[in-house]
Amino acid sequence: MKYMLMMHTPREGWATAGIGTWPPEDIKAHIGFMMQFNKELKESGELVGAEGLAGPEAARIVRAGANGVPEVTDGPFAEAKEFLAGYWIVDVDSTRRAHEIAARASAAPGKGGVPLNMPIEVREVMSAPSVDL
């Protein structure tokens, strides 16, 4: 079963208390943790893909306008409480395993090495239908 693990980060305080404002050694510890975490998932043969996303400041919303022309706007990030910071796709034997992986990601070290315990949204990736209808 494949799951997408989405790492949500609070919108509020992103600029004032986000990772960019931590002491360098904390940033280093956080990045080191993520690299090690991805390495472990690769080695366990469970990693399908993982990406970190650029900050929300540069994000744009696109809708099709008249004749399908892209209409690009900035919003509505101001109202959003959280934004997607990155994701993993893992291929695991059970939902429980997906939850274990998510919990480990959630506990990534933050400022002062304190676990962030950030919310990780776990969603099953759509797959083939079961044998019988």
Binding site: M1, K42, G45, E46, D91, M126, A128, V131, D132, L133
Partner: protein, 421 residues
Amino acid sequence: MTNPSPDAAPEHLLRDLAPQVLGAVIRRFGDFSAAEDAVQEALLAAAMQWPSEGVPDNPRGWLIQVAARRMIDHIRSELARRRRDAEAVIKDPPELQILPAPDSGVPAEREDTLILLFMCCHPALTRSSAIALTLRAVGGLTTAEIAHAFLVPEPTMAQRISRAKERIKASGEPFRLPSDQERTERLGSVLHVLYLIFNEGYTSSSGRDLQRADLANEAIRLTRALHHVLPGEAEVTGLLALMLLTDARRDARTGADGELVPLTEQDRLRWDRHAIEEGVALISDALPRGAVGPYQLQAAIAALHDEATRAEDTDWPQILALYGLLKRMSDNPMVALNHAIAAAMVHGPRTGLQLLEALDTDKRLAGHYRLDSVRAHLLEMAGDHQAAIEKYQRAAGRTASIPERNYLNTKAARLSAERRS
């Protein structure tokens, strides 16, 4: 060298030879893990060379020789690495030339396939790694093919396989058949892994990636090989029959736009008659022999479906009796769900719905879309369309399959439209 005949499929030849070659190399050198890598390289070399240069007169010997050279290279580099305690690595340096007589040791070859299956489906492995290792070591598939079939990156699959081999090494499993006491349980693991490979291929054949359907063929091929080695094992025969009888319906299972077509609405002329005949013959042969197990019962049920020319000709009382037996044999809520459907077909939807109530408290089914979708069908049968619509919609929200979600949403939408008109 002989010229390849147009109908000779080198790919199938390679896959059939893979476990025999691996068995021979392990018997000579030990070290399952390194031998498996060496055989994989030999298979890749053959896949490159044989199409242009022709299949050698003794393909098995050719593969063993190439794999043995790789093993010797591997051992040499190991020796160089551990020069000081070389004696721990190997006692007798192997000679460079290994030329087994053609078709030598046929019983050993069969036994090797069996030993390899037992190893690759070792209970210490996770399901996904047992599946991957079986496909590579016994099925002769490349890592790239397996990765493609499971839609994961090749390095991930390579890692999964190498971890599986490490685990087997750590388990200390010797290269021989398990003891009589262990045998039944271990055979159960092998059959389960083959069943999972089949399911992966069968269920995804409606998906965008037709190549995944090869997994169903691959599972049938491996189960056929196992049946060939153990013709007296009724559950092996049962599993092979179940696969053939289910796979016979594969093409009819999806419509023109890839949508799911339920059993009752399938065009039965599209079912594969040859597969059905073979499956029916196998299960008819296995059932009277005594030890009836779950695979045989499921095959018998599949045979009853396949033998009905029209959906309304289905022998539901017989199917209900078989699900009754199956339910007593295995504590599986999915079996209980199918039993409820069969009961509804025989005694009416209310009986089926009553049976479903007992499943509401089963934690294993909590929130599972199948309970909702079966209940929706039975409510529809009972004429309670409003309740059926709600259950169809709830099931659609819970399934992890897009074709299934489309099917369930369409069912709900049709009933809603009927109510309005």
